[in-house]
């Protein structure tokens, strides 16, 4: 028996379209697993299937070894938190948070609601109408409402995507602390690599409905299972071993993926023609043409003036910023 959630060879179909294709995944007690993928990768469909909101065409969803086929959504004890909160617009903040506490004594319920609102940093918001909340507040209420149900598994469907950047980072931290504090196992769907790496114990990368790799963030980053995963994580361009050697990284026995910091400016390196210079906060990003013709970016601390872009830049690969993939050598 496997403790916690076990998804085994799950298939979700919408008519002729296969959204999730034989995915197997586990979430252990206390673990946060991120489902990372571009839009259309099937990550939300998988989450909905786990919640019981979509039927499985094949495969199984199990909890502590028990098959959940036939267990309706409301008996699973898995709470879904949606991208836009989906607060009940006709209920107050307190009534939303207390929705899952129906049937408890009133005093106990009120106390629990107050505790949860404290936990998400909204003390005293109980009597307010949810329509008066900002996007970030609404998501925090949605989080409190989800926690009130004391779920055995939390399913977060892009909980931060509807928020702007500053709020996203702040609420991400709140979410992280809360998940650690409560120890509720969590499946966290996101398309944002930073978000997934920041919050998850393990990251599962989905593409085209297939599960490409599941690993701890650091392992995933250092050893992506293939070019598709590496590319999705932000590696690129991909060089054959000869090219890599010519740029100062000899001895690779596979394709070399260049990470965001994998190419550095070095006067002793290989001179390459500059294609473009773009100002960034605190520096510049220079695009150069590598000897094999591929474009690659180099980060530079120096902010160039508009008319003094250099025509050539000498670069080399930094081994710490590159990965060697086990893919067959074809670029």
């Amino acid at each position: 028996m496997v403790a916690g959630l076990q998804v085994a060879d799950a298939v979700v179909r919408y008519g002729p379209v296969t959204a999730v294709d034989r995915v197997s995944l586990e979430v252990a007690p206390g673990e946060v697993v991120a489902l990372l993928g571009a839009s259309g990768s099937g990550k939300s469909s998988l989450l909905r299937a786990v919640a019981g909101l979509e039927p499985l065409a094949a495969g199984a969803v199990r909890w502590d070894g028990e098959d959940l086929a036939g267990v309706p959504v409301h008996r699973r004890g898995f709470v879904v938190m949606f991208q836009d909160g989906q607060l009940f617009p006709h209920l107050s903040v307190a009534a939303n948070v207390g929705y899952a506490l129906d049937g408890r004594p009133r005093a106990e319920r009120d106390a629990r609601v107050a505790d949860l609102l404290d936990l998400v940093g909204l003390p005293g918001y109980g009597p307010r109408p949810v329509t008066a909340l900002s996007g970030g507040q609404a998501q925090r209420v949605a989080l409190a409402r989800s926690l009130a149900a004391e779920p055995r598994l939390l399913l977060l469907d892009e909980p931060l995507s509807a928020l702007d950047r500053g709020l996203r980072e702040h609420l991400g931290a709140v979410l992280d602390e809360t998940l650690r504090a409560t120890g509720i196992p969590t499946l966290y769907v996101t398309h944002d690599q930073d978000e997934a790496f920041a919050i998850a114990d393990r990251v599962a990368v989905l593409s085209g409905g297939r599960l490409l790799q599941v690993a701890e963030p650091s392992v995933l980053w250092r050893h992506p299972a293939g070019r598709e995963v590496a590319s999705f994580l932000g590696y690129g361009p991909f060089l054959d071993p000869a090219q890599a050697a010519s740029l100062g990284l000899p001895g690779a026995d596979g394709v070399v993926g260049v990470g965001p910091d994998g190419l550095v400016a070095d006067p002793a390196g290989t001179p390459c023609p500059v294609l473009e210079v773009r100002a960034r906060r605190g520096g510049a990003e220079v695009t150069v043409a590598l000897p094999d013709g591929q474009a690659a970016r180099v980060r530079s601390r120096e902010l160039p003036g508009h008319h003094e872009a250099p025509r050539q830049l000498a670069v080399r690969l930094d081994p710490d910023g590159c990965v060697v993939l086990a893919d067959p050598v074809s670029v």
Partner: protein, 562 residues
């Protein structure tokens, strides 16, 4: 449907889901379906069958006789002619109104919207009497010589249906993204070209939907034609009534009912198709947009002012004014006379009013309970194509009474519910049931948008928080439905209060409703009788407007049934 409902432990992919087991909503559909079968399908089917039986044997002779009669085709021609004219004029006048009332911002807009929506719910007999008071030789516009004319009937039909166009088109117009028009203008198009090439094409689904609906209402008009048309003009509806009650020729009436069914079904199909298109179009748009009145809005404002003053206010004003004109000058003599049993009336008008209110309350209760159940079922979103097809079918079936004329329903009741197994001839419930049948489509169209507006993920969120299907209905669906309930109750009550088509067949002489009494009064000679009809019409109109005003007042803004 209780929280203790045993969870079906069905193995297999279709077991999970939020809405509970499909049987839950099949169960919710059973009561309305049975009701519709007994009180609509059965009477109408019996009526249709009656057309194919002559002297106790199956025969096409009765139908053939009717189809061969030149009178029939004159009536069909008049029905279609007035319906085409009525819907065309309604659309032409309604478009500027929709623009002004939904796209422009000015003080008093809310009041004007409310005023415009009153005629739609006014009792047909009252509107007939109001136009009669205006166009009769002694009326304000008597010099035009339009009494008992085609123009008079079309004017009254436009009076009714103007608000249908304004509301349907206005609701979409308010949500059209103005940036498409801005883009066209910045590309060098003038205002008229923008209107013709960008705005009107975008509004086309709403315009088509409104036109189809108005056509339907015009083609099944009864009371207003009966009052205004005199002997010269008629519709299939009035002809059915004439053949039944005056000539007692049931096969002919049945054959005409079949003709009416064909006309109505055709226009319902068009209306349904365009409504579906409109719902898709509406989904694409955002929040309502409006701008303060500008100089360029003058033409729309002028047209609307003329329509509101000349077409809507003038007949109502004339009705109210002439109800006060008595032989001895201005006074309330006609109203006082309503208390007596003058002429051949079996009860006083006040007693008839009481009958009307009691009947309408019962009809409203029936229509709203059924309407809630039907709307709940129709608002489900089954994931299987078969389920969706089934729901579309149910949707169409429950819209049928909208057009299958009230006269057909009343006539059908008369010939089916008068003997075992169901003998309701002597039951007072017969009329409320018939009225509820007529009001049901309006109730469903009012409640359904609020229920369909519920994001399905609200259900999913509630289910994942542990709410069983019954609790989801109680805590999510019901509060939403209640927001549309005020308007639904108002529509049902107003429709029942003024219902004349079916009631005219079913009302017993000792228990008439007020519209029936008004019709009896105008059929009698003498200024006194007409004066009383005017007074009674004012009373009925005020009561209807009050009920509707109350409903409008408590309705949420986003509900717009048409």
């Amino acid at each position: 449907m209780t929280a203790a409902l045993p969870v079906p432990r069905v193995r297999g992919p279709r077991a999970a889901g939020v809405g509970g087991h499909p049987w839950v909503w099949v169960a919710a559909a059973v009561l309305p379906v049975v009701f519709l079968a007994v009180f609509f399908a059965w009477p109408v089917a019996t009526l249709v069958a009656r057309g194919f039986i002559v002297d106790g044997r199956p025969s096409l002779a009765g139908v053939q006789d009717v189809l061969a009669a030149p009178r029939t085709w004159r009536i069909v021609g008049q029905t279609l002619g007035q319906a085409v004219a009525g819907s065309a004029v309604s659309v032409l006048l309604g478009l500027p109104g929709a623009y002004l009332l939904y796209r422009c911002r000015f003080p008093g807009r809310r009041a004007l919207r409310a005023l415009v929506s009153v005629p739609f719910v006014l009792p047909t007999v009252v509107v007939g009497v109001a136009f009669q008071s205006l166009l009769a030789p002694r009326g304000l516009l008597g010099f035009l010589g339009l009494q008992e004319s085609f123009v008079a009937i079309v004017a009254a039909l436009v009076f009714f249906n103007y608000s249908v166009v304004v509301r349907t088109v206005g609701a979409l117009w308010a949500r059209l993204d103005p940036r498409a028009e801005d883009a066209a203008r910045s590309l060098g198009a003038g205002r008229l070209r923008v209107l013709a090439t960008v705005t009107l094409p975008a509004l086309a689904p709403a315009i088509a939907s409104a036109a189809a609906l108005v056509f339907l209402f015009c083609a099944s008009a009864f009371g207003v034609v009966l009052v205004l048309g005199g002997s010269g003009y008629g519709t299939i509806e009035t002809e059915i009534w004439y053949q039944t009650t005056q000539l007692l020729d049931l096969p002919a009436a049945a054959a005409l009912s079949i003709l009416q069914l064909v006309v109505v079904t055709a226009s319902l199909m068009v209306a349904g198709a365009t409504r579906a298109r409109q719902e898709r179009a509406l989904r694409l748009s955002g929040n309502p947009v409006d701008a303060p009145l500008r100089r360029g809005d003058l033409p729309a404002a002028a047209v609307t002012a003329v329509v509101v003053a000349g077409l809507l206010l003038l007949p109502m004003g004339s009705l109210a004014w002439r109800s006060l004109v008595t032989a001895d000058g201005i006074g309330f003599a006609h109203y006082v006379a309503l208390g007596g049993r003058t002429g051949q009336l079996t009860v006083s008008a006040w007693q008839a009013l009481l009958n009307s209110v009691v009947t309408a309350v019962a009809a409203t209760a029936i229509a709203v309970v059924l309407g809630l159940l039907v709307s709940y079922v129709l608002s489900r979103r089954p994931s299987s194509p078969r389920g969706r097809r089934f729901l579309r079918g149910v949707d169409a079936v429950f819209m049928l009474p909208l057009g299958v004329s009230a006269v057909t329903v009343g006539f059908g009741f008369l010939i089916t519910l008068n003997r075992p197994p169901l003998d309701l001839r002597s039951s007072w419930l017969l009329i409320p049931v018939a009225q509820a049948m007529v009001a049901l489509p309006l109730v469903v169209r009012t409640l359904l948008p609020t229920l369909r507006a519920i994001d399905p993920r609200l259900h999913e969120a509630a289910a994942s928080l542990g709410a069983a299907p019954a609790r989801i209905v109680a805590t999510i669906d019901l509060p939403f439905a209640l927001r549309g309930l005020g308007l639904a109750v108002g529509f049902a009550f107003a429709t029942s209060l003024g219902e004349f088509g079916a009631t005219s067949f079913l009302a017993r002489p000792d228990r008439p409703t007020l519209p029936v009494v008004i019709f009896q009064l105008i059929g009698r000679p003498g200024a006194e009788n007409f004066g009383m009809a005017l007074a009674a019409s004012v009373v009925l109109a005020v009561l209807t407007a009050l009920a509707m005003g109350l409903a409008e007042w408590i309705r949420p803004r986003e509900v717009n049934p048409w």
